[in-house]
């Protein structure tokens, strides 16, 4: 991977690899950013991912409601991304940590080869990615265990942190069977387990979090351990600061920052801020007795006047306009009491994370301005007008998002087509829960129910759930009998289109079908359609189609091998059973034709298959044959 330049670049796979599984944690996220990140990560657009039936990314966000968010993302909103349903927590506690653990492999069927840990100061929103000054740290760790012990230790610590979050703050459906858990959450747990296993037995980490201890204590301990000779610069940046308690009084957090180890008593103290979000610093600064602190407006080196949102503490040297030999904290925790001085050990404490790392680089004035938003060569503006503004990291009183009583549904085929429901593990005396899929009626369901029968034609990718008299509704994912999640296969009216889609492999990002001038699905203009009627699809007899099918498929897979073959077999298994229009299947059945059979013969199989691949290939053919009902 080239040197990353943007937040989205962090999601881009290393050369030759593809995004496999991701765990994403943030306070907030928006669909536009997540969709772009998923495209970067997977190399596939949403339309493609919708047909994969694979959960690739797991998202954990803060559970508080906001004007634009009253529920988690629906399972189909950002294809291949599943947002975990949050458990109820103390309303005062905020999940404020921002990190990603990204697993990469040569293909979806191959084991992970690289795992990336990224820590952000910004959320997964375009606001952060485009209009705010942020910082980011990341490291790639080889899954072969050959990375440095420090890198592996950080990854393992972050994975343990995410695992703890999942188990304490999100629903994992404890009542669900192993099969169901495997289908939906197994990739997440596998990613976390592999990351944790890479960690050395004991190693101090750069990665820190506030599940058990405050960030401040951990920053302090690391500085005390690492900084040998006292530095003369304390440079602190934050988008938000603590709220004023007593007018004009020195903010408590400022006092704590001054006491960080590794600093000369005479060290220059600089707070880089957004003047309109200065919190308690505003009133204190007005008193003009600031104990040597200088407040400066964050500097956007590219002149786009982006808003300061990064949070960092830099302890280093300032010499002749250069800063150097520093130690840097960057992370989610604002330089506020709530951000740095609370931990999740308190019911109202925030969940934060960050890294404390050596920043040995010697940065000149413009580099400092670019990377830490402060230009040492520019004199501080003593007339800086600051105001209290708002705070980001205190939750206030918004309600929490309600999780649905049922977390997901699994489609089972035997003894009859039915949905098995995964209920929340904390419900007592729940009543009046109903579900609905496709265009069917609402059906009342109860935690003790076995399976809920589904009409034979129904293969819903999602199920609607409602509970209580409030009429509140949710959409939950459906796991199909092969373990695929919210699979939405395209429907083609003609054999030509359907067969072309089946042969459309491998997938590549730029293969989007959303070309200019294409009609959106199902929305052809009445006049437009009348004006240019679609040319009637040509003729063709069932026999000719069967031959075309066999020849086309055999030719496609003739040269397939290695990684591509693994993906092809998965593609075949997923698409073949329902790839073709029912009319042609019916015609083949009527004529006693079975175009699947010749594909079992060696000359028409993929040329080189391992025993495992051969059995996977035959299984895909079996499933298609059974689904088509041809003998």
């Amino acid at each position: 991977m080239n040197q990353p330049q943007t937040m989205l670049d962090v999601f881009r796979p290393p050369e030759g690899l593809r995004g496999h599984t991701a765990a994403l944690v943030a306070m907030s996220a928006t669909s536009d950013f997540l969709e772009a990140a998923m495209e970067e990560f997977t190399g596939l657009d949403g339309q493609r991912r919708r047909t994969l039936g694979a959960t690739i990314a797991y998202l954990m966000l803060d559970p508080h409601e906001s004007p634009g968010r009253t529920a988690v993302f629906s399972p189909t909103q950002i294809p291949s991304l599943y947002e975990l349903q949050p458990r109820p927590v103390d309303k005062r506690s905020l999940l404020h940590a921002k990190l990603a653990i990204l697993g990469f492999a040569k293909s979806r069927a191959e084991p992970l080869t690289t795992i990336r840990l990224a820590v952000f100061t910004g959320n997964f929103t375009n606001e952060s990615a485009r209009r705010q000054l942020e910082l980011c740290w990341f490291v790639d760790v080889g899954a072969n265990g050959k990375a440095s012990a420090a890198d592996r230790a950080d990854l393992a610590a972050a994975a343990s942190f995410v695992r703890d979050l999942v188990s304490v703050r999100y629903f994992g459906a404890a009542r669900a069977s192993n099969t169901e858990r495997r289908a939906l959450l197994k990739p997440l747990h596998k990613l976390l387990d592999e990351s944790r296993k890479l960690g050395p037995a004991s190693k101090r980490t750069r990665f820190i979090h506030s599940l058990r201890e405050t960030l401040y204590e951990q920053v302090r301990a690391r500085l005390a351990r690492s900084v040998e000779s006292p530095r003369n610069l304390l440079l602190c940046g934050s988008g938000f600061w603590e709220q004023p308690r007593q007018k004009g009084r020195k903010p408590a957090m400022i006092g704590r920052l001054e006491k960080l180890p590794g600093l000369k008593p005479s060290a220059r103290r600089v707070a880089v801020l957004e003047p309109k979000q200065a919190g308690a610093l505003a009133a204190w600064y007005d008193q003009a007795a600031t104990d040597g602190w200088v407040l400066v407006q964050a500097f956007d080196a590219i002149g786009q006047r982006r808003r300061m949102h990064a949070k960092f503490i830099y302890v280093g040297y300032l010499r002749r306009g250069h800063i150097s030999n520093g130690w840097l904290y960057l992370g989610s925790g604002n330089l506020s009491w709530k951000g740095l001085m609370t931990s999740a050990q308190r019911p109202d404490g925030n969940v934060e994370c960050g890294v404390v790392l050596q920043a040995a680089e010697r940065l000149n004035a413009s580099e400092a301005a670019e990377r830490l938003f402060w230009d040492p060569a520019t004199p501080a503006d003593i007339e800086l007008e600051v105001s209290v503004g708002s705070t980001e990291d205190a939750a206030g009183t918004p309600d929490l998002i309600d999780a649905p009583p049922i977390l997901w549904a699994t489609l089972v085929e035997k003894p009859r087509l039915a949905l098995t429901l995964a209920w929340r593990d904390d419900l007592e005396g729940v009543s009046d829960v109903r579900i609905r899929w496709s265009n069917g009626d609402w059906v009342g369901v109860y935690p003790g129910d076995a399976d809920v029968p589904v009409e034979p034609f129904a293969r819903p990718p999602v199920v609607r759930v409602s509970a209580g008299s409030s009429g509140k509704e949710w959409m939950i994912p459906v796991i199909d009998p092969t373990g695929r999640v919210s699979l939405e296969l395209p429907v083609h009216d003609t054999f030509d289109e359907a067969f072309a889609a089946l042969l459309d492999f491998p997938y590549e990002l730029h293969d989007s079908s959303q070309d200019e001038g294409d009609q959106p699905a199902g929305k052809a203009s009445a006049m437009g359609t009348a004006h240019r009627p679609a040319v009637a699809q040509s003729k063709e007899y069932a026999l000719y189609r069967a031959a075309e099918f066999v020849e086309g498929l055999a030719a496609k897979q003739a040269t397939m091998a290695g990684t591509a073959l693994n993906d092809w077999l998965e593609h075949l298994d997923r698409l073949l059973p329902s790839a073709l229009p029912q009319t042609i299947i019916d015609a083949w059945r009527r004529l006693g034709l079975n175009p699947i059979r010749p594909l079992r013969d060696k000359p028409l199989c993929p040329a080189t298959m391992t025993r495992r691949q051969a059995s996977q290939y035959l299984r895909a053919l079996d499933r298609a044959q059974e689904s088509w009902g041809v003998q």
Binding site: E35, G122, Q304, L357, G517, D518, Q519
Partner: protein, 419 residues
Amino acid sequence: MTTAIWFAPAPSTADTTRLTLDFGLRSSDLYFRELVVPGLGGVWFVRQLAWATGAIALKHEMSQLGGHVPTATRISHGIEALACKRDYLDGNTDSPMVLGKRAFGRDPDGTIIDFERLTQRAYYVVNTHRQDTSRALRENNGLGLASGSRFNQFSLTGAGQALADTFLDQTVGQGGGRLRRWLQDWIRDRAKFTNSVSKALVPSHPSAGEAEHVSSRLLGVAGSDGDKRRALASALGRSKELPDIEAVVAPRLRSKGHARQALEVIAALRFGAAMDQTREVAAHITRQLEPETSGLPCSRISRDTQAKRALSALRLACKKFVVSSDAAAIGERDSLRFADEVLGATDAEVIASIVRRVPDLLSLVDGSACHGPLFRVIGASESTQRDGDDEQTAARADRTFRIAKLHALLRDIDRARRQ
């Protein structure tokens, strides 16, 4: 393996989840585009079609040789990226034909010219010229260069193959090598770049042969679509500036006996004007809503003086559209329904209707307009076009940009013929 890195991210530029400001009238929009210039899609210069057909031909030819071959889409993307990058590096940085300027600017020495990387979005753009060609390539309702339903499954027709061959058979390098062979080697990471390859690829220098093929498909085919394009091409002329549609092009069409076509062009123009005014109203709504994260009642938004002015202009535009649509006997339902909605409702109701039509941008909650998931303040001339596509941005208005594209394509053909 990347070692630990910390950095201050630059603003992200990718815009995959585009804000769609079609107000639920995308079908109508496409209908009017096709009505005015049938079969052209988004094509406005010759090389767009040469790259695309060349890629489909290369895909087919390389597949015969065996081994893994990238999809036609990816090959097309790569050729286009390389072509634009060469043009950019040769100093043609202002050309609207050159996409990817932002990505190229990050590699000023031009070291990244390999197929593998140029086909990644980070090194070019997400939305390519190729995407604008799909409709035009098609046999049905296009220029008849390929058959099939999706780009990756396209098979070239005789005309398409002829265009591809003309493009790919250009001589490059010393010793009479062909571009076809050079591109195959480049895709397989075995080619070295030479200056003669530049000319054979860049968007601004199509060969006369390529231009002839495109011209014959554009203007030389029989049928109503060809007739329409011919009549319009004649009415447009070849002056550097696009002539005024209403004052010059429509009268010319009428004078040459194409009265109905002239009425259709005017109706499309009016539809475009109504869309632009709708966008103007939406821009006012977003400006008022910017600081109001909890929303504003539509009735209050409608009381704003500027919003009132924009609403009046929208009503006038819709009235004109309905009249011109009736005159041309166009019964496009969705657009007329929208116009009726605007003409028969109060200001607050029109605001609410517009809010409902852009759910990504705005949402309607209990009569109040609120921020939608992709909320931002939009400009009245908001463009959702891509990086560097100035031509489309400039020609956004009045649904005449298909005409502008045809004009640009005709001039590109003429330039190539003169060379």
